[in-house]
């Protein structure tokens, strides 16, 4: 399995956010997307998730010889964005039960997800009583219930305390060890072992090597051995 981003360009309001972004994330790896505010981290995640159509290029998941993109790719993705999709009128467990129902899973999946994020004690309480950090954890618990191959996470540790942030890092590590892929927009290091890195800078994309994982060679068409490959923006220099 491999997440493939090919010559991706995104525009918002006529302005180019990033240009000619090409990279591959193989199974079992996490990609940390860093960069200052406005560099396009969230936009990249939204393009991968299919919410924002790319101006050019494509996003695909290659799995067992099949190339999934667009509507076929979306059921393989889990997205944890700025908004936690939590309904305050429902209890914490009911919120999660809804997503288990939509994902076609039974209620047995709920309890382990709640305890993985330290929410067991809140299970019966209305989600409206959750603090910002608890709500974020409830949003992240959905990733465990949904059981998707690719996790897209936008600042997953914002409003989390150190202990919870470490728990989230451990969940991402476990997901990757199980052969999953994670794409994480973050300012923090997340404490992940040997993640791939992409540093976005406003208006221009500059990749950065994650312990030799990056191959800054010009992009050949069939570079199957390269686990991770980034083509330079409009032929510009790498940083």
């Amino acid at each position: 399995m491999e997440l493939l981003i090919d010559n991706l360009c995104a525009r918002r309001g006529g302005r180019s956010v990033f240009d000619d972004l090409s990279l591959r994330v193989p199974a079992g790896r996490a990609l940390l997307v860093t960069g200052p505010n406005g560099a396009g981290k969230s936009t990249l995640l939204r393009v991968i998730a299919g919410f924002l159509p790319p101006a050019t290029g494509r996003v695909a998941l290659i799995d067992r010889g099949e190339t999934l993109s667009g509507a076929a790719l979306q059921p393989r993705l889990a997205f944890a964005g700025h908004m936690d999709a939590v309904k305050p009128a429902l209890s914490v467990a009911e919120n999660l039960a809804l997503w288990a129902g939509i994902a076609g899973r039974d209620r047995d999946a709920i309890e382990p997800a709640l305890s993985a994020l330290g929410l067991e004690a809140m299970a019966g309480r209305p989600a409206g009583e959750c603090s910002a950090g608890q709500r974020r954890r409830l949003g992240l618990a959905r990733l465990l219930v949904a059981e998707r191959s690719v996790w897209l996470m936008d600042e997953p540790t914002s409003s989390l305390d150190a202990g919870s942030a470490a728990a989230v890092s451990a969940l991402v590590a476990r997901h990757c060890d199980a052969g999953g892929i994670a794409v994480i927009a973050t300012h923090l290091d997340m404490g992940l072992h040997d993640p791939l890195r992409l540093d976005l800078i406003p208006e221009r994309v500059a990749p950065q090597g994650g312990e030799g994982a990056l191959d800054p060679a010009p992009k050949p068409a069939d570079a199957d051995e390269d686990p991770f490959l980034v083509g330079p923006a409009d032929g510009g220099a790498f940083r």
Binding site: A49, Q74, P75, M83, A85, K87, E94, G101, I102, G104
Partner: protein, 222 residues
């Protein structure tokens, strides 16, 4: 897929129940609007009987409108729609499921209350079956056409007024044929033709609305 759609319908019903908003308020508005008419017009039985069908239908349209602005807006604001986009379901099916839930919380209570209210307006007892049938055939169109307007304004704060302006014109055919069904029954004319047309509008709306609303929601999320 059926299970997932059932989960969405069940969730919307549960939310409507917990928040006490949608259904109960819509029904209360419907009842009050109809009850106000005799107070304004006077209690001349003949006048009331003649306008009963139209009055009940107009009140039903307005009551259906009340809960529309939050149909998709709440889900856009809290990120639920993003998650539903990634569900293993077409967005069109998600929209259809939410529309079914909207009808169950507004259209169905209105349909059940309408014959009683019509009797209050001195509608002849013989016209009650026509009233009930017309409501059952016509109210799905109110939720379906309403879903298009709700989807178009989902990303706009305070979109409620805009929904009314967008949706009320779409309600006109249902109003004409729904009210005509009741009127024909009152005048002892055959009422199956206007009833069939009312149903046809609902079926046509069922074919179009999920696609139109899903298309509007995809644009909202960009």
């Amino acid at each position: 897929m059926v299970k997932a759609l059932g989960a969405i319908v069940a969730r919307d019903l549960l939310l409507a129940l917990r928040l006490g908003g949608g259904g109960a308020v819509g029904l209360a508005f419907f009842v009050l609007a109809v009850v106000l008419i005799p107070l304004g017009i006077g209690r001349e039985g003949e006048t009331l009987a003649r306008i009963a069908g139209g009055v009940v239908w107009v009140a039903a349209l307005l009551a259906a409108l009340l809960s529309l602005d939050r149909l998709f807006q709440a889900d856009v604001e809290d990120g639920t729609l993003e998650q539903l986009m990634l569900a293993d379901l077409p967005l069109e099916a998600v929209v259809a499921a939410k529309t079914v839930a909207h009808w169950l919380t507004t259209g169905l209570p209105i349909t059940l209350a309408a014959p009683l209210l019509a009797l209050m307006l001195n509608l002849p007892l013989g016209s009650v079956p026509a009233m009930a049938a017309a409501m059952l055939a016509g109210t799905p169109a109110l939720s379906l056409a309403g879903a298009i307007g709700a989807a178009l304004t989902a990303g706009i704060r305070r979109g409620g007024l805009l929904v009314s302006i967008l949706v009320l014109p779409l309600y006109v055919p249902t109003l004409i044929f729904g009210a005509r069904t009741v009127e024909n029954a009152t005048l002892d004319l055959p009422w199956s033709a206007p009833l069939m047309l009312t149903l046809a509008i609902s079926l046509g709306a069922a074919a179009i609305a999920p696609f139109a609303a899903a298309w509007a929601l995809r644009i909202t999320l960009r």
